[in-house]
Amino acid sequence: MSARWLWAGVAAGLAACGPSPPQQLGEQLGEQLERIASATRTTELTARQWGDGSLPDGYAIQMSRIAGQSLRRIARRPIWQHAPADIRDTALDHAAASAALADRLGQAARSGDRAAATGLASRSARLAAATRRLRERVSPR
């Protein structure tokens, strides 16, 4: 019995020291936005290196599939239901646009169209930067 009270006390103490619920939501949304930006950067780096011949086609195809799957998984997470509408819509737009870029990279790698890589890399870079700005707005560091 006393152990249960002690545990409840510790849990309450930890909860009091931790962030408030809105702060917590902001941090969780920020984390998801970071993941979107990171997946987009992965596409950017893969496109750039594949474009200059540093990576084999097969690897570019694997990475584009991984980035696309990861972005779609992030977009399906229930956390977005709790986000303010404007943040949610923009974030999900970014995730969808990034997944589309990853898919385009996969198609280009399958057809050996290395000329498309530079454009895909620069569009991914711009999108990742925009997602980072949104992340700072949601949960400044």
Binding site: E27, E31, E34, R35, A37, S38, R41, T42, E44, L45, T46, Q49, D52, G53, S54, L55, P56, G58, Y59, I61, Q62, M63, I66, S70, A128, R132, R141
Partner: protein
């Protein structure tokens, strides 16, 4: 550690093995993740891990050379069978998880090379590892794979080519508190330490010393190979951390898949860099996998008083060979079922750190027992360094693992 060679060759091979054998799935993944997330700030964890590992490897070699006992054999002798059984149970569980992560590393390298999913490669990798153990001698496993593992030095070369700000790198070698994501920071720190100080290396190293017929005359070689080999090995891991800090950190790129790590070396070496990474991952993980499977067999065989030696034909120590024969496919199973190799690696490294005090502290007692080590016991500095690092890693791991599992940042 094999005998019958000129001394200079033993020293050279020992050092090369230390360097080539240092980097494996755990040390590579944790170093790259640390560099990507915290730039150079976690360099200190690598240094702590390397100092402790070099000290432990030296002690394990010295213990075996003087006492003519392996560490596990002596633990059963000194603390009784029940204590040995508890320790062996924990060690085998940790070895199982780490072995799964190493087999996953080789399977992933094959996926990168061929495009076929790592899940399809896992069982084949287990079979090839078993064949290498079944057919190969101890020195083939220790030296052959260690020397091939020198390919991992590509990370060190890449770090030098990238011209990092050396002042910042040096500052990272001093411990500092996290400015953000404290749970993740400490989880990564203990994972790095767990990846460096794997208790199975103590088992492997002392068994190797007995297999190689070491005695008092080998103490100098032991000190050199443990000190120089492990220090250079840690420098290679530091190279991986620096490369990730220079390439991934400015992009805010988080490493949540092994496949992403393949983007590091092409930035410096072009297409060759990609294949260097594939070779590094495959060879380093394959070598570590062989050492782990053997360590499991040593753990069981030495504790239960079986005949054990890698240099005997499998028919001569059938029970010893049965252990690795069963363990390898079992460890491949989670990878074949699709468990993410990176997650398995990071979790098993943190668990290794948590189990460190249980295994290392009894070993320290042995290292101070004159019955075993005569006048060659530990000095106070060695005892204090290893005890403090091990306890710290254990305590931080016990706190950080649940926080990380609960999704804390």
């Amino acid at each position: 550690m094999s005998s019958g060679k000129p001394r200079w060759l033993e020293v050279a091979l020992g050092i090369l093995t230390g360097i080539g054998g240092f980097l494996e799935a755990g040390s590579l993944a944790t170093a790259v993740q640390a560099g990507a997330s915290y730039r150079f700030q976690l360099g200190w964890a690598l240094v702590l891990g390397a100092v402790c590992l070099a000290a432990l490897a030296e002690m394990a070699g010295r213990f075996a050379a003087i006492s003519q006992h392996t560490v596990l054999d002596a633990i059963r002798d000194r603390f009784g069978f029940r204590f040995y059984a508890l320790l062996a149970g924990i060690s085998l569980f940790v070895i199982y998880l780490v072995l799964a992560s190493e087999l996953g590393g080789v399977a992933l390298a094959l996926q990168l090379a061929t495009g076929a999913s790592f899940r399809w490669w896992a069982l084949l990798v287990a079979v090839v590892s078993w064949l290498a153990l079944w057919k190969g001698s101890f020195s083939f496993i220790e030296n052959g794979v260690g020397v091939l593992g020198l390919v991992t030095a590509a990370f060190l070369v890449a770090a030098l080519v990238l011209h990092p700000p050396w002042g910042d790198v040096a500052r990272g070698l001093l411990p500092s508190l996290p400015t953000e994501q404290p749970a993740h920071y400490w989880f990564t720190a203990v994972s790095i330490i767990g990846a460096s100080i794997s208790p199975y290396l103590v088992v492997f190293y002392s068994s190797g010393a007995i297999e190689g017929g070491w005695d008092v005359s080998h103490l100098g070689i032991n000190r050199l190979t443990a000190g120089v080999g492990m220090s250079f090995g840690a420098t290679v891991a530091l190279g991986a951390l620096i490369v990730a800090a220079m390439i991934f950190h400015p992009l805010d790129l988080q490493v949540d898949r092994y496949e992403q790590i393949a983007l590091l070396l092409p930035e410096v070496f072009g297409r060759t860099g990609f294949w260097l990474f594939v070779a590094s991952l495959a060879i380093a993980c394959f070598g570590a996998g062989l050492e782990l499977a053997l360590s499991a067999a040593y753990t069981v065989g030495q504790g239960l008083g079986w005949r054990w030696s890698k240099d005997q034909a499998p028919a001569a120590d059938a029970r010893f060979s049965t252990v690795y024969t069963l363990l390898l496919p079992l460890a491949a199973l989670p990878i074949a079922l699709g468990l993410d190799p990176l997650k398995v690696t990071l979790f098993s490294m943190a668990l290794t750190a948590a189990s460190l005090p249980l295994i290392v502290l009894p070993f320290l007692v042995l290292m101070n027992d004159r019955m075993y080590v005569r006048e060659y016991g530990n000095g106070w500095a060695g005892n204090l360094t290893v005890a403090v690092i091990t306890l710290l890693a254990g305590v931080v791991a016990v706190v950080a693992i649940p926080l990380q599992l609960l999704g804390g940042s």
